[in-house]
């Protein structure tokens, strides 16, 4: 109880806040952001046109938003956590009725200035919601069935809504980040083993409800040569692009695979492929290292937080970020089936950028208000 005054109430001075900002995090995000703009520029064969312009604007806007929202008190996020989750669910429902369809799936809401993809926001909402949920529960209660079942239901609702869009990739990422938090919160290991076994048993049933294109993607993953011009095309072309990059790559703007349009989705899911073709093994490792530093930094912030909510959120978000990044990279390397998962910050796409920046701003808020105990 003999703690500095600042602890008690809303008396952080602005200078103090500026001092506590994690500049290292900002620098890494800026570097990755710059790389992403240059990569998008390369997808347009070195023309500063539509995609590059949009991507740059979005990055700048959402980056500014990240900086501004960093000063929102973490307790505000704590208090609004459930509202955030419910808002996400409502937006997902809104998509079902008023969404925009593109290439066979209905994922977006037209916001005039951009098309919002609520499932991307849901990725963050789930983490915030779960962080709050476990913040309140006593460690002794965590293993009880009631507290076991509630988060599972909270997770299944958005996952179901996203799968039906259909968007398997995002659903997996939402489920993955939710499970990461449940794991971090301390749910007994046996439940994970049990549910893993149940999943294995129910796999045939799951496969039977998958859409034909999703099935074909999974089958193609196991054997890309099955259909080299169809479903296997993306994996094969992506591997060719990455492999032909070699140690040092073909050089900036020199990647032939993407320039000659062999690479599908080069702005979005396959941006890593393009980068890797042009900058090779060394470049790819540098990019991966930058992401590792970003995750490391977030985890460090988590450790510095006093409140369980902040800690859980930071660790959860770091884990989710890791999941997004490595699902995407493993996918383009042919280690995982192509499921449609963007690479954070690098990929073209407003909603993804928005959700990552939002997530980062909450992390920064945790840092700035790290001494806030959050009382409920």
């Amino acid at each position: 109880m003999i703690l500095p005054t600042s602890l008690n109430s809303n008396s952080y001075s602005f200078i103090e806040k500026l001092k506590t900002i994690d500049y290292f995090l900002i620098i890494i995000v800026t570097i990755i952001g710059s790389i992403s703009v240059l990569s998008i520029y390369s997808t347009e064969s070195g023309n500063f046109s539509f995609y590059t312009k949009n991507h740059l604007i979005r990055f700048l806007v959402f980056f500014s938003m990240f900086l501004v929202l960093s000063f929102v008190r973490v307790s505000v996020w704590y208090r609004q956590a459930y509202f955030f989750y419910i808002l996400g669910i409502l937006l997902l429902l809104f998509v079902i009725f008023f969404g925009i369809s593109a290439s066979g799936s209905k994922r977006w809401i037209n916001l005039l200035i951009m098309n919002l993809q609520p499932s991307e926001l849901m990725k963050i909402a789930v983490i915030v919601c779960f962080a709050r949920y476990y913040h309140r529960i006593q460690s002794s209660d965590i293993q009880s069935y009631k507290y076991l079942l509630q988060p599972i239901i909270l997770l299944l609702i958005p996952c179901y809504l996203v799968i039906t869009q259909p968007d398997l990739g995002t659903a997996i990422l939402i489920a993955g980040s939710g499970l990461a938090i449940i794991w971090l919160a301390g749910i007994n290991l046996k439940y994970f083993i049990y549910s893993g076994l149940i999943l294995l048993v129910s796999l045939p049933f799951v496969i039977s409800i998958l859409k034909p294109y999703q099935k074909s993607r999974i089958l193609t993953f196991f054997n890309p040569e099955r259909d080299p011009l169809g479903a296997g095309y993306q994996i094969i072309q992506s591997k060719i692009a990455i492999g032909s990059g070699g140690l040092l790559g073909k050089g900036f703007l020199q990647g032939t695979q993407s320039y000659l349009e062999f690479l599908p989705e080069k702005h979005t899911d396959f941006i890593f492929t393009l980068f890797s073709e042009e900058f090779g093994f060394v470049g790819s490792m540098v990019l991966i290292l930058l992401y590792i530093l970003l995750i490391y930094r977030i985890i460090r912030i988590g450790f510095s937080c006093r409140s369980f909510f902040a800690k859980l959120y930071c660790f959860g978000f770091a884990s989710a970020l890791f999941l997004y990044i490595f699902v995407n990279i493993a996918m383009v390397l042919g280690l995982l089936p192509i499921v449609g998962a963007p690479l954070p910050i690098m990929s073209y796409g407003g909603s993804s950028m928005l959700s990552i920046m939002l997530g980062l701003s909450i992390v920064m808020s945790c840092k700035i208000y790290s001494r806030d105990p959050i009382s409920s």
Partner: protein
Amino acid sequence: MIKRTGNISKNKIISRRLFILIATKIGILGVVTSRLYNLQISEKQKYEFLSEKNRIREWKTPPQRGIITDYFNNIIADNKRVYQVHLSLEDVTNFNNSIFKIKNIISLNEDEIKKIYEKKENSKPWDTLIISENLSWKDFSKINLYLHELEGTKPVLSTSRYYPYSNDLVHVVGYVGDATTTDIQNKKKIEENFVPGLKVGKIGIENSKDNDLIGNHGTKRYEVNASGKKISEISYKKETQGENLRTTIDLEIQQLAQQLLKNQAGSICVMDIFTGEVIAMASSPTYDPNKFTHGISTKDWNEIQNNKLRPLLNKSLAGLYSPGSTIKPLVALAALEYGIIDKKFKVNCKGHDHPYELYGERYHCWKKNGHGLMTMRNAIKQSCDIYFYEVARLLGVDKLSLIAKRYGLGSKVLEDFFSEEKKGIVPSTKWKKQVLEQSWYLGETVITGIGQGYIQTTPLQLCLMTAQLANGGYKIKPNLIYDKEIDLDIIKSKIESEKNKSVSQNILKDHEFKYYERLYRNPNNLKLVLDAMYGSTNEQFGTSFRSRHKEDKYKFAGKTGTSQVKRITDQDRELDLDLKEIEYKSRDHALFIAFAPYDKPRYSLSVLIEHGGSGSKAAAPLAKKLIKKILDRHELREKIRKDLKNIA
């Protein structure tokens, strides 16, 4: 405080759990890194190759065929500029629509449209389709006018095969057409140079010399994008034109021969008796090879196929005929060589009342009243059958067969140059046993003596036979393509040295002869035969006396032949019908062989008119006209020969 301890234990758990999670992440990081290493470092070359293969696409450009000329450098197979319309499939959004539009501008019939759709089925999406290979200038300008409305349509100036003397040389030069799957499989050169639209030789020189004529395709390498669209040209290896070929044919003589055969079925062959150069090889009727270049229409094809005179048959080397009396000089020579007869040997020909009899079978002479007492010279001159029945009987078919084969019958004259060439038949007792599994009858020997029965020859074989008799009895190498290795002076000196060579008795036994080796035992025997042929043309009562040249420089020697198509019955003999009264198919084939000039022989020829009647009436007059032309052009040909030798 409870809450606080709860928090502490929760913090403990979360740290432990995080630690496990980080460990897992490091593991995943390791997997991803090793995968990246595997792709970019270990298997770099594989993917680099695949990337190049992706990026670069090759287009083959068609080579131009070599040009074929006659001996005097007149072009007989040329490459002509043609106007074509191509459709680049990658630029076409609606194929049916495009074809419909093009159809409205240039006239395409149902057949052609069907072919275009068939071609499209077999093309790749980035291929170019040839819509029309040979457009009129009018249609071509119309296409150019409407070009802005036709996406992917390209007016193209191309070349295609053109035969300026269309019908006159088709049996020598042949024609070209689209390469079929069999063509591609059978000829490596075609396989290597195949380009859509490549024309290959189907018959004739075009076919046999395809390997030389085709040339080598060029290669354009383009950088392309994923949909196969050309981005930039990387390299262009230019195509090379096929070799030009000079044939031994004399266009003017060939044309005259073809003209002489007009409206008849038959063949004329002309050969240099020393060099073996085929100077003319006419076969009638003919057809237009230009019609085949762009695919012959069904109507034209039916017209050619339904012609009863069989234009498609190259009669010079694939038509088989009984040689008739043209074999007689050879029979006489064989008998002289084996010493069966001498020049004083006589046989009495007593007319139809007293025919030649053998084992109760009767054999008639063609002359009703008989020739009287015949010597060898007279028998050839007047073509007495009775004389040769007797000589053949004395000689025996096996000896006759041996000499006949030696002088060029029974084997392919141009070896494998023409796939359609026939060997013919020179019968012998052994042959009959092997092929027909029957024994030989003496009666068959008798009729073989006048070139009837089993014996079958091609006009080109008869021409070669005449050449090898006229050159004094030396084996020559017939050829159709100018070959600088075949040199007249060398041949003449070889012959000169052969002349003085002493020969063993073995010369009358079966053995292989080398080129320009002597074929005879006694040179006087040949002289006797050739002299008799002189009589046949230049003396009264000679069978071709009416076709003689009076001027010394055109004087030639020949032998007529009339080959029966069916057996002559006693009734036929009684009726003695005029040619016009006999059904076409039953009329005799008219034959004539000759060499010229008589005093210094240089050229041999054979004439055959299918169902033309008698050799002296139908065939010999053609030879007369032809020989004048041949001898008139002799100086010119020799001049070219010298020029060619100097160039070499």
